[in-house]
Amino acid sequence: MAEPVIAVAGLTKRFGPVLAVDGLDFSVDEGQVCGLLGPNGAGKSTTLRVLVGLVFADAGQVRLLGRPVRPGDAVLARAGTMIEESAFAPYLSGARNLRLWWEAGGRRWEDADAETALAVADLGSAIDRKVKTYSQGMKQRLGLARALLSAPDVLVLDEPTSGLDPGEMREVRQLLRRVSERGATVLLSSHLLAEVEQVCDHVVVMDKGKLVAAGPVQQLIGASGSVYLEVTNVRRATSTLKKVKGVTRVTPEPPGLAVELDGVKRSEVVAALVHAGVGVETVTTRHRLEDAFLGLVGEE
């Protein structure tokens, strides 16, 4: 069996009296897109910092691409990293920042995957402007570009869509899918659970520095789906839906209904309602991961 691309075993990190990470274990296999979830202060950023050699573990071990992570290790050349906000030398242009960052690793600019990176940055002529003139979103895109310069085998991203507008967020999601399809492994932390649900196939949930749950997204949220419907006649809709095969639960949530599905398509549910003479005004997919996450970490 192949060794995981990311392997965290017994990771413990304390900052003074604060136990930031407490005996954390998880792994991410090759090609997976794994979301690292947890409320503020759960220890996500600390875990990611240990993973790329910025923070030293007090106990436990972290392996990246089969090697123990040490600051400056050669294995970091195969990793693309974005930790919290993207930051650059403000008086240099975006292009100059990327180039100097790359060349400091002892590599020629010609060997960088600059075409992909600059396409991601999508800064146009602004790439030659000083970074201090950039918006937060532009810096974030430039940060993603930097992480992709090496066509990395593994991407470690901390809140990669922070500061981006909805269109840019969608582009980042598409980008992560393309990176994954290329065979790269992605570990990303995000507060946006809907985003994680769309992008990730696996999740690791942390709370108070400890592992709460880990596994495939579908396993975590259950195999069943859930939709919220607003209909013209709630009573008739409820009785109709209870007869539809694959509808496991119908719960009134005024002004509509929450419907749990198991093996039946949303279109079939809507068709059954229409056939019964019930008008369907709204069909909304529920953020199932959000429900599962809040259940795991005990938050309302």
């Binding site: 910025l54 600051p71 290790d73 294995v75 930790i83 030398a89 400091a104 002892g106």
Partner: protein, 270 residues
Amino acid sequence: MVAVFRTELVKQLRRPRTYVALGIAAVIPIILTIALKANPPNPASGEEGFFALAPNSGLFVPVAALRFMSRFFLVLLASLFAGDAVSSDASWGNLRYLLVRPVTRPRLLGAKLGVSALFAVLATLAIVVVGLVAGVIAFGWEGISVPVAGLSQSAGQLVGNLAIATVYVAWGLAAVVSFGFFVSTLTDVPAGGVGAGIGLYIVSQILDAITSLGSIRYALPTHYFDAWDILFFGRGPNAEMLRGVLLQIPYVLVFCALAFWRFQRKDILS
């Protein structure tokens, strides 16, 4: 090491602050020369010191500029280059990105230290070279002979001693650079490292003025800071200058060792 040194060098070279600092270092000797030319010190007034002697030879203008600027301005510049070498990247949040490359921390720190030292030397050279050019244009390339002041040197001797003085002054900044650099690894506030370098100089100067401290003063990093005066009064380098050179070594070793030791163990949270 070469790659990371080169990129750190380019970063410094493209930083507006660098040009401003080196520009001021270069402009002051020009202003000094113009002032001496326009309003020469009156020998009858009894005015003494390097400024009074400068109009006797263009080669003495850089000596006067070096004396004038080494006493604080050069210390300020050296502290500026060394004191924010690491902390400026930390303050921008960029330090973590410098350290997720396949570049070890000692290599990055070594490159930053080298660049800081290089620019401290460049600032010293800017003062001397610009002062030399401006001085020669204004007062000519010739030796100097002022028996009253005990000063008599040919042009060749002046140039040779100026070169020695330049190296001595630049090396005399080593303790300040090392201390500012060390503090730069401890803080995310650039002013902290800069202030530390200047602070070391000021404290050392104050303590050095307290004669009752006795032989302790001989271990202060700035005690021999002005010992290069002797070069221009016909006696050449002496034991005081040698002690001044040697005294910097333990400060450099201790502060640099602390910087490397600390930085290798530091959690990068900024």
